[in-house]
């Protein structure tokens, strides 16, 4: 039959000649390749001590962001959950009380915010849908757990820690 792609290569099978039959030249050639690779740069890294850099647009574990005053940006508008194709996100909204203005940016906030990391496919649609720039998939890989229920990440794991310049300075000086 005629090939459609014209990229077909026809293999010719012939009986081996004398040099091919004694195998020695092929063994020498093979050893040559092995020895050549011995001096080349190694493509693997020694993982636990050494880590590969993440690419800039890597999407890992979610984090719920705070604004410049350390208040939570999320207002529980539900657009991330709406856009989520895997239905991994759930939330419960609550109203900000008087005196909590330093904790939450808007009058409504997410009292409960849960992402099921087993359902999540790390597509980044929640990040795109968020009107408040509150959620980013900027973490590393989600770690393994023993139990299914431990994969449901609540606010304790998702909300980023409050930025403290003094702590950062201490860390740098020590």
């Amino acid at each position: 039959m005629q090939s459609l792609s014209n990229r077909k290569k026809v293999l010719e099978q012939k009986p081996m000649n004398f040099w091919e039959r004694i195998y020695l030249p092929a063994i020498v050639k093979g050893l040559g390749i092995t020895i050549r690779h011995y001096f080349k740069k190694k493509p693997t890294v020694k993982y636990p001590e050494q880590e590969r850099p993440y690419s800039k647009n890597f999407r890992g574990q979610h984090s719920l962001k705070r604004d410049e005053l350390g208040r939570e940006r999320c207002t529980a508008c539900g657009l991330c959950a709406l856009s989520c194709p895997a239905e991994a996100i759930t939330m419960t909204a609550a109203e900000r009380k008087k005196g909590e203005e330093h904790l939450y940016r808007e009058e409504k906030y997410a009292a409960v915010y849960e992402i099921n990391m087993l359902r999540c496919i790390f597509c980044g649609l929640c990040e795109e849908a968020c009107p408040k720039e509150a959620i980013y998939l900027d973490g590393s890989h989600v770690t393994a757990e023993y139990l299914r229920k431990d994969f449901i990440y609540g606010k304790d794991k998702l909300v980023e820690p409050v930025f403290d310049i003094q702590k950062l300075n201490q860390k740098q000086s020590s």
């Binding site: 207002t75 529980a76 508008c77 539900g78 657009l79 959950a81 709406l82 239905e87 909204a93 609550a94 109203e95 808007e106 009058e107 409504k108 009107p131 408040k132 023993y146 139990l147």
Partner: protein, 339 residues
């Protein structure tokens, strides 16, 4: 006799002819045709007498006045307040002038309207949101401070966010026409105008809850539903009950097994025809209070339809396998011991 002999007027809206009764407004004639050519309306409400003519979103171009006087009308007219004439030709979406005007109207309505849709409970069923999505510009050009008000509680069940009000007067007409003894109106003029009760007096009338339903934006919202859930996570189901004061025809908004709120039944133009009483709206929030009719029919483009099944009991996603469940439990017990 004379009534029967009244001839029907023929109007052409965007090239589609329709026969209507004399005295029909252009908007209602367009609604008889239906579809994309219906001008949007923020203030007109068919069941409220005297409503309309305030928001100017329903502006259309009359390119031919009538058969007898074919001159076009000099300016764009509000279709909810202009009655049809025989042989009238109207342009709505076919006229760029109208679309430009509508864009400017949306921009003007949004001058003082805060962009707090992520917080607002009306988001998802808000007419202004739909309108600005379709006709609005992406950026605001307004650089001055928006007018702001404190939240006001009207009674213990209704909350007024004056920030979001676009002064459509619908709630005022509801208070005027459905309730005896009006306690609610628009105060001040022009840019200072605001809806209010007289000296923030609590409005207690059996039908006052309808101001929530008629409000096209999130200015008047149900306090019992405040921040409970976003609209698109709830599932609307039509239901009825024998109510001594009202028709009892409502829509229940379910989240799981729980009724989060009760509203009147809205038609495709977001208008309620059978207003419901406060008892139905605020006090009957159990399934046992109601006779369920059917899941509410929604526009397929509406965000409320997202992730909804159109049946009462959707078929289970996973087959119930007791053998497997038992094995999983055993496995769980084993791993727990290891930890």
């Amino acid at each position: 006799m004379a009534v029967e002999q009244l001839e029907k007027f023929t109007v052409t809206i965007d090239g589609i002819p329709v026969q209507v009764e004399p005295g029909t407004s252009i908007l209602n004639a367009a609604r008889q045709i239906g579809g994309d050519i219906v001008p949007p309306a923020m203030c007109y409400y068919s069941t409220l007498e005297g409503s309309g003519g305030k928001c100017r979103t329903c502006l259309v171009k009359v390119s031919k006045g009538s058969e007898k006087d074919p001159r076009p009308m000099p300016k764009l007219v509000a279709s909810c307040r202009t009655n049809v004439m025989d042989g009238m030709e109207v342009q709505n979406i076919t006229s760029t002038e109208v679309l430009d005007a509508r864009k400017s109207i949306v921009e003007m309505l949004l001058i003082n309207h805060p962009l707090d849709c992520p917080v607002c409970d009306q988001a998802g069923e808000c007419k202004l949101q739909d309108l600005s999505y379709e006709h609005g510009v992406e950026q605001t050009r307004y650089e001055f401070e928006r007018r702001t008000f404190e939240r006001i509680d009207i009674g213990d069940k209704i909350q007024l966010h004056m920030n979001r009000c676009i002064l459509c007067y619908r709630c005022v007409y509801v208070a005027n026409q459905l309730t005896e003894g009006r306690q609610h109106g628009v105060m001040y003029r022009g840019d200072h105008a605001e809806i209010s009760t007289f000296i923030e007096k609590a409005v207690d009338n059996d039908f006052i809850g309808n101001v929530i339903d008629v409000c096209p934006v999130g200015a008047l919202t149900d306090k019992t539903f405040r921040f409970k859930s976003r609209v698109w996570f709830t599932k609307p189901v039509d239901a009825h009950r024998d109510c001594p004061t009202c028709s009892g025809q409502v829509t229940l908004w379910y989240k799981g097994e729980e009724v989060l709120r009760v509203t009147g039944r809205k038609d495709e133009y977001n208008e309620v025809h059978d207003f419901i009483c406060n008892t139905c709206r605020f006090d009957k929030k159990r399934t046992s209070d109601w006779v369920l009719d059917e899941p509410t029919k929604l526009d397929k483009e509406s965000v409320i339809t997202a992730n909804h099944y159109n049946t009462f009991q959707p078929i289970p996603v996973i087959k119930n396998n007791p053998e497997l469940q038992e094995a999983n439990e055993e496995q769980l017990a084993r791993t727990e011991r290891l930890k």
